[in-house]
Amino acid sequence: MLSKGTSKHYSVLFVLPAFILFSLFFILPNLSGFVMAFTDWSSYYPLSPGFNGWRNFQDLFASPVFATAVRNTIYFTAVTTAFKIVFGFLMAIILNNGVKFKNTYRTIVFAPFVFNPLVIAYVFSALYQPDYGPVNTFLRFVGLDFMAQHWLTDVKYAMLAICVMDIWISIGAIIVIFLTGLQSVPQEFYEAATVDGAGGFQKFVHITLPLTIYSLSINTILCLIGGAKVFGQVYGLTNGGPADATQVYGTFIFKSFSSGLFGYSAAAGLLFTVVISLVSFLTLYLFRRLEVEY
């Protein structure tokens, strides 16, 4: 046994550079957020912030735009997560059951993963254009004229339009993860179930679902975090407009930051960090309990 002797050879120098860099630009800022959120730091006095107690949080909760941003972020996260999980799972099952050109389809839906969301947002702003945009042109072509809307300037539809674009962008990655999960289910289980006379639905509930719960949990967390953090999609498509109707958390912080209210933005950021971390750890914990050994 060399283990004791070799362990000297794993010098702490291996991990130190990464540790320092990560501490300096990730951990320390996150910790100092707890201090900064209670200051009146602004662009007027960039290097001399003073404490102002709970003032920033009081201001946040009194701000109607903040309320809209929170509501929109929850709406966006709920709609996109539900849709991506349900339809992503369905499409992964379709692809896993021997559709011709399976790999081509997977490649096509996965491709937007490598594009910048801001650039995609500009393409969609053309697609959603009210008079000539292909979306409305198509709706009129199939006789659904009443559904052709001012997608981005009508308060009623703008959030929905952003959700649709986001689903278009990232459902591919969700499908890829589900597909890997599905492929890892041992084929014998299905064969045994067939012998026992189980139907398709029973197989899904008793074999597929329990054995893919791990990819389900990863996907749910990815969707939740991704949804809550949404920025580029909204920034490019509507930039929070019309009249702050599509403001989400990310664009709200950027707007406050751009107007120089650093302490106020830090307070909003701190709330976000605390809530997202709690939700993520809770989701992880819940799914961990649903996992099965096999």
């Binding site: 060399l2 283990s3 002797g5 362990s7 050879h9 794993y10 010098s11 991990v15 990464a18 540790f19 860099l21 990560f22 300096l24 630009f25 990730f26 800022p29 957020g33 900064m36 730091w41 379709i94 559709v99 081509t104 389809y105 490649t107 839906v109 996965f110 491709a111 490598v114 594009f115 910048n116 969301p117 801001l118 650039v119 500009y122 393409v123 053309a126 697609l127 254009q129 000539y132 292909p134 042109t137 278009w168 890829v176 993860i177 791990y214 990819s215 990863i218 996907n219 975090i225 580029g232 920034y235 912080i253 950027f254 930051f257 650093f262 830090a266 950021g269 960090t273 971390s277 750890f281």
Partner: protein, 275 residues
């Protein structure tokens, strides 16, 4: 008999569904390509038709009027630097963390994993950058990006490291290798498959980042995709030029995707299958 007919019908239906889904993805690309070659008036109609006259000069105008070239250089320089530094730091860190079982090692593993879940604190980072005089510098961008890419990189490396037997380390030690020498000459080459995944993942992440560039750097430091943002601000009524610019911005990604897809899939799914 009726059973097989039904199965076939369902199969056909599913094929049709996937075909429609695929069309939803291909149609926008088609629209970008054909309209980027039209004159301003017909491009602004955002139609499907093939251009009557090819306006290749749209592309010449894009390179003249946008920062596309500077953006390409910025993106490659920042991306390559981050990928190199992050690759070395994270593989070394993962090696230590997966081989050593001390309290410090366990704590540090959690320390890095927390970065996968906890969001980045942008405003306090802005303050730190202000104090260090790193805002709007290449050095600052690289430092932030490396810090942000470390958790996932270390996570990917650690998963792979477990498949490399400890006996290899021990043999090298008996032969008298020093730790760093042993790592770079013996272990690092064995990590090649996951290194490619880490490189592809980090490069795409840095290339397509929006938030970090908006908060911490001015337009002259932005990579190619972000230059579309500046261009859109100036020519929002000229879809011929905009589509040409968008195409210029996404072609490198497409090329990258064709070669890197395999590695992106393996990176994405590394944590999603129970080992």
């Amino acid at each position: 008999m009726s059973h097989t007919v039904k199965t076939r019908l369902i199969k056909l239906l599913l094929e049709a569904v996937m075909l429609i889904v695929a069309l939803c993805y291909l149609a926008p690309v088609w629209i970008i390509v054909v309209n980027s070659l039209k004159d301003t008036l017909s491009a602004n109609r955002i139609g499907y038709s093939w251009p009557k006259l090819f306006h290749f000069d749209n592309y010449a105008q894009v390179f003249e009027k946008s920062n596309a070239l500077q953006g390409l250089i910025n993106g490659v320089v920042i991306g390559v630097t981050v990928v190199l530094i992050a690759g070395f730091l994270s593989s070394m860190a993962a090696y230590y963390l997966s081989r050593k079982s001390s309290g410090f090692s366990k704590f540090t593993t959690l320390y890095f994993v927390s970065g996968l879940i906890i969001p980045t604190a942008i405003i306090p980072t802005y303050f730190a950058m202000l104090v260090l005089k790193l805002n709007n510098t290449y050095l600052g961008l690289v430092a932030i990006f490396v810090a942000y890419t470390l958790p996932l990189s270390i996570f990917l490396y650690s998963g792979f490291m477990r498949t490399i037997p400890r006996e290899i380390d021990e043999a090298a030690i008996i032969d008298g290798s020093r730790p760093m020498q042993m790592f770079f000459r013996i272990i690092f080459p064995l990590l090649a498959p996951v290194t490619v995944t880490v490189i592809v993942f980090n490069f795409i992440g840095v290339w397509n980042d929006v938030t970090t560039y908006l908060y911490f750097a001015g337009g002259d430091k932005w990579p190619l995709p972000m230059t579309v943002f500046q261009f859109y601000g100036k020519y929002s009524q000229r879809w011929d030029l905009l589509f040409a610019d968008i195409l210029v911005a996404i072609v490198p990604c497409l090329i990258f995707f064709v070669f890197g897809q395999k590695y992106m899939v393996s990176g994405l799914t590394a944590g999603s299958v129970k080992a």
